[in-house]
Symmetry: C2
C-alpha cells in the first residue's frame, strides 16, 4: 500500500472523470477504438437509447475526445472519429478491459489485441519504473516536484 | 486506427464498468489507493453525500474490490481497505490520471508517483508488445485465439 497523503494538490483524475466519468462514454469509446463511426452503428451495437447516445457523443465532441465530421464520400452523412486526445485513452481502456477479463469475466477477451508486426498479444498494462521494472503498490511513494531524485538517485548519493 | 471488427465476442470492459462504472467509485478508489480508510475521511475529502458514499462503498465491497472490517485497535470502528482485486485497478487509475494531467489539467499531478527504490517518477502507462516495445494504435490488430502467432512470428515464417 502507498503511504498516506492528506489530499492531492493537483490531480489529473477528477478532471479526467469529468470528461469521461460514466459507463456509456467508455462503451462509446470502446466502439470508436474498434472502428465504429456512425450514430446508427453505435446505437445498434451498444443497444443504448438514442437520446442518451446523442447526449454522450455531444459531450465527447465538446471535450475534444471525438470529432463530428461530414463523410467525404457523402456529405449528408456524418461520422464520429477519435481525436489524438481520444486515442490516448487506449491504455486506460485496455487496462480496464484486462482487469475485467481477470476479475470479472474470468476468461480472456475475444478478440484480443496483438502487435501487427509479429502477431503476438500485447503485454498486461503495468506500472513501470523509469528504467522499465514492473512496480507493485508497495514499490511506490508519493513525491513532490522538489523531491524528484537526480537520475542515479539514492544509489548515487550513497556511493 | 485499429481494423474494424463487428462486435466483441467476449470483452472484459463492460463487466469492468459494471463493477466500477461511475465517477464516485473511481474517486473512492483514488482515496483508498492514497490510504483513506474511514467513512468520515472519504466523506470529508471527497465532499460526497453520505447516502451516495454508503451506496458506492457497499457496491465496491459487494464486488470484492474493497473489504469492510472492524479495526483491530477498536472493534467498534470499521475501515475499508482495497482487496488484491482493488489494488490491481491501480494501472487503470494511474493511466486515467496521467491522461487527465496531459489533456485536461495541462499540468503534472502533485504529488506524483515514484519508485521507492530510486525516487524517480514512474513511466507513462503505455501499450507494450510482448518484448517491451511501445505500441501505438496503428501497431495493433485484433486477433482470435487460433490466430496467435508462434513466438518469432512473422519474421520466423518469412525467414
Amino acid at each position: 500500500m502507498l503511504d498516506e497523503f492528506p489530499c492531492a494538490l493537483t490531480c489529473g483524475l477528477p478532471s479526467a472523470l469529468e470528461a469521461m466519468g460514466e459507463k456509456w462514454s467508455f462503451l462509446i469509446l470502446r466502439g470508436a477504438l474498434a472502428g465504429t463511426r456512425h450514430f446508427e452503428d453505435f446505437q445498434s451495437t451498444l443497444g443504448i437509447a438514442r437520446n442518451i447516445l446523442a447526449n454522450r457523443l455531444a459531450r465527447l465532441v465538446e471535450k475534444g475526445i471525438m470529432v463530428r465530421e461530414p463523410m467525404s464520400c457523402d456529405r449528408r452523412k456524418v461520422e464520429y472519429r477519435l481525436t489524438e486526445k481520444g486515442n490516448e485513452l487506449a491504455p486506460v481502456m485496455i487496462a480496464l478491459r484486462q482487469w475485467g477479463e481477470k476479475w470479472e469475466c474470468g476468461v480472456p477477451s475475444v478478440p484480443t489485441l496483438a502487435d501487427r508486426r509479429d502477431g503476438q498479444p500485447i503485454q498486461q498494462i503495468r506500472i513501470l519504473s523509469h528504467d522499465g521494472r514492473a512496480l507493485g503498490l508497495c514499490d511506490l511513494v508519493w513525491i513532490y516536484p522538489d523531491e524528484i531524485a537526480p537520475v542515479g538517485g539514492v544509489e548515487e548519493i550513497a556511493a
